[in-house]
């Protein structure tokens, strides 16, 4: 399988804070890789690092950031600007803040094509209408003349997706794309993304806190905690046999109609996420973990569940079965 995006040992820091502490990611053509975790775990920062959209004060380093087999870690801003919006695109949680309120939908969409493809205004408008139609926007030609505030949340997200797909990118990074939407619209937008992915062979890196979304769309999952990936594998394997205590804790927190009895206590993870500074060692989850022993403060071994399902914890594979 060809990897569209390969990241090795990505590290990002802000001043004293270590936001991302050596993560690996691999996103394949036509596949969805979900990066899941709670707020502050570093999932969005990781995505922004790939797009090189971090603030200037961030310290970024990586063994390798390869896009379509080529190292892009060393590209300058002009080189990255050529890739962004063309071969790799990103959509964000709140389309109201990522669309410019002062420009029409048409001018924001055609700008992408005119910049990357150098097509005429009329041609760009034509392609934009076609793309809006493809993502299920009704009355697409009328939308070009509208401003973001005139659209509903679901429509704005469709416009964002259409804009991101205009140049038929190979990689789409979606950062909580449905979190601000109503549940009914969420399901529809996720279906749309899946359909488009199938048609275009798009590699999708989906960032979310919602394990429900992950279960339904992911091919691969990486669970992130305090700047590290604590468990990763095929979605099937991770959900069938979660091994890291954090993954198991997260799953137990979610009420599932029909599975968790009403009024029964939900599982919960005590305590709060630690802030990780320089010089931190051992397992970052140990203060909240029921299985922690003193040795967890020293080093964390990585265990293999099956060929591509791994987790970082002292507990042996299969521990949860007993």
């Amino acid at each position: 399988m060809s990897a569209v995006l390969e990241v090795e040992d990505l590290r990002v820091g802000f001043g004293e804070l270590e936001a991302v502490r050596g993560i690996d990611l691999r996103v394949e053509r036509g596949r969805t890789h979900c990066l899941v975790g709670e707020s502050g775990c570093g999932k969005s920062v990781s995505a922004l690092s790939v797009m090189r959209l971090l603030p200037r004060r961030a310290r970024l380093s990586a063994q390798r950031i390869a896009f379509g087999g080529n190292e892009i870690g060393g590209l300058d801003e002009r080189g990255m600007a050529r890739l962004r919006g063309d071969r790799m695109a990103m959509i964000f949680q709140e389309p109201m803040t990522s669309l410019n309120p002062a420009y029409t939908i048409g001018s924001q969409m055609t700008e992408v094509l005119r910049r990357h493809r150098g097509v005429s205004r009329a041609n760009a408008a034509e392609q934009s209408v076609a793309m809006l139609e493809r993502v299920g926007v009704t009355a697409p030609s009328m939308r070009l003349g509208q401003f973001p505030h005139q659209l509903s949340g679901g429509l704005r997200q469709r416009v964002m997706i259409a804009t991101a797909l205009l140049c038929e990118p190979e990689l789409l990074i979606a950062d909580e794309p449905t979190t601000a939407l109503d549940v009914t619209v969420q399901a529809q937008i996720l279906r749309l993304l899946k359909d488009i992915q199938r048609q275009m062979g798009l590699a999708v890196l989906l960032i979310t806190h919602d394990l429900g979304v992950v279960a339904r769309v992911a091919d691969r999952v990486s669970v992130m905690y305090a700047g590290q990936i604590v468990e990763h594998g095929s979605a099937r394997s991770v959900f069938a046999a979660p091994h890291h205590p954090y993954t198991r804790g997260l799953l137990a927190c979610i009420p599932v109609p029909g599975r968790v009895r009403r009024g029964e206590k939900l599982g919960s993870i005590p305590g709060i996420v630690p802030r990780i500074g320089t010089g931190f060692s051992g397992c970052a989850f140990r203060d909240r973990c029921a299985h922690a022993i003193p040795a967890c403060a020293d080093s964390v071994p990585e265990h293999v569940v099956d060929s591509d399902h791994r987790y970082a914890c002292r507990l042996q594979p299969g521990w949860a079965r007993t």
Partner: protein
């Protein structure tokens, strides 16, 4: 029987100005809603954004006057009640504790303020505040902190402590866990269930998350465009939803079960303009099973407001 909450014919109209000179639009946010909640029950109110669920909550709390209709709390007309009397009976918890807690007051003052307003002596109230904080799982040393020094979950605990410190009968929670991470959401839901039992509370729980409502509530009211289109016991609504909108909402819930794929939600997408409510059944433009009568005639006002509701679902 006295109802903890008895709302009759409740409506709220907002006038929305269109530009400087435009004629105002009348938005009917809540449209002739009647709702009764028995003492000690937990009712969940669900619906999409803009359906009027928060407007309804604010009217029940007396924070927003109704355009029409009456709210009775424990048998008394809300309009005839003074602020202090009302506050002793019914208290809110809102979604975002960062904006509902005064950032320049310390936790001790925030939780103590309702007691001071009720005229509790200073010597008494510090102790009551400390006891209340312990009940929501906060230590007494939190009293000196500012909201900005707390985590999201701790802030929501403070908001809950502030609501319960006067020992009200009714707690209205408007999306209390929507701004929180899942692990913290679980902590807060567990806490609310404990406190409900400890304080013998009537709970109104507003949420867009059906799984959460299913978990915490005894009965569910589903709102659509300002009306409660389905209301029934939790078990019945979740097992056999009578309204096509309820079915669509339930179908949209993404549970963490891999292999199921994404549901095909049987519903048109366009949420209608609340200033221009469709004729007949207000759900008909999005309804997968609408027939002619739905376009012209409003459904009968009953527990499932649908022309085509199965009899079994209607009480």
């Amino acid at each position: 029987m006295t109802w903890a909450i008895e709302a009759t014919g409740l409506s709220r109209v907002f006038e929305q100005r269109q530009g400087l000179l435009g004629a105002p639009r009348r938005v009917l946010a809540v449209d002739d809603v009647s709702l009764r909640v028995a003492e000690g029950q937990a009712i969940g109110i669900v619906g999409e954004s803009g359906c009027g669920k928060s407007t309804l909550a604010r009217m029940l709390l007396g924070l927003l006057p109704a355009s029409d209709g009456v709210v009775r709390i424990a048998g008394q007309d809300l309009r005839a009640m003074g602020r202090l009397a009302r506050a002793r009976l019914i208290q809110p918890v809102f979604q975002d504790p960062m904006s509902s807690l005064n950032p320049r007051r310390r936790v001790g003052d925030i939780v103590g303020l309702p007691l001071r307003a009720q005229g509790v002596a200073r010597s008494d109230y510090r102790q009551r505040v400390a006891r209340m904080l312990a009940q929501v799982g906060l230590t007494a040393d939190m009293m000196g902190r500012f909201p900005s020094q707390l985590s999201g979950g701790q802030r929501q605990r403070v908001a809950i402590a502030r609501a319960l410190v006067v020992e009200p009968r009714i707690l209205i929670c408007d999306e209390p866990t929507s701004a929180l991470d899942v692990s913290v959401q679980a902590q807060i839901l567990n806490l609310l269930m404990d406190l409900r039992a400890a304080f013998d509370l009537t709970l109104v729980f507003i949420s867009h998350n059906l799984a959460v409502v299913e978990h915490i509530a005894d009965e569910v009211a589903v709102m659509y465009l300002g009306r409660i289109v389905e209301h029934g016991a939790n078990e019945r609504v979740f097992a056999a939803p009578g309204h096509p909108y309820t079915r669509a909402l339930l179908a949209s819930v993404l549970t963490p079960e891999p292999g199921l794929g994404l549901p095909d939600v049987p519903m048109g997408e366009g949420y209608p303009d609340p200033a221009n409510i469709p004729s007949g059944c207000r759900f008909h433009p999005r309804c997968p099973i609408a027939i002619d009568i739905c376009r012209t005639q409003s459904p009968v006002r009953r527990s499932v407001e649908c022309h085509l509701a199965p009899e079994a679902a209607v009480s």
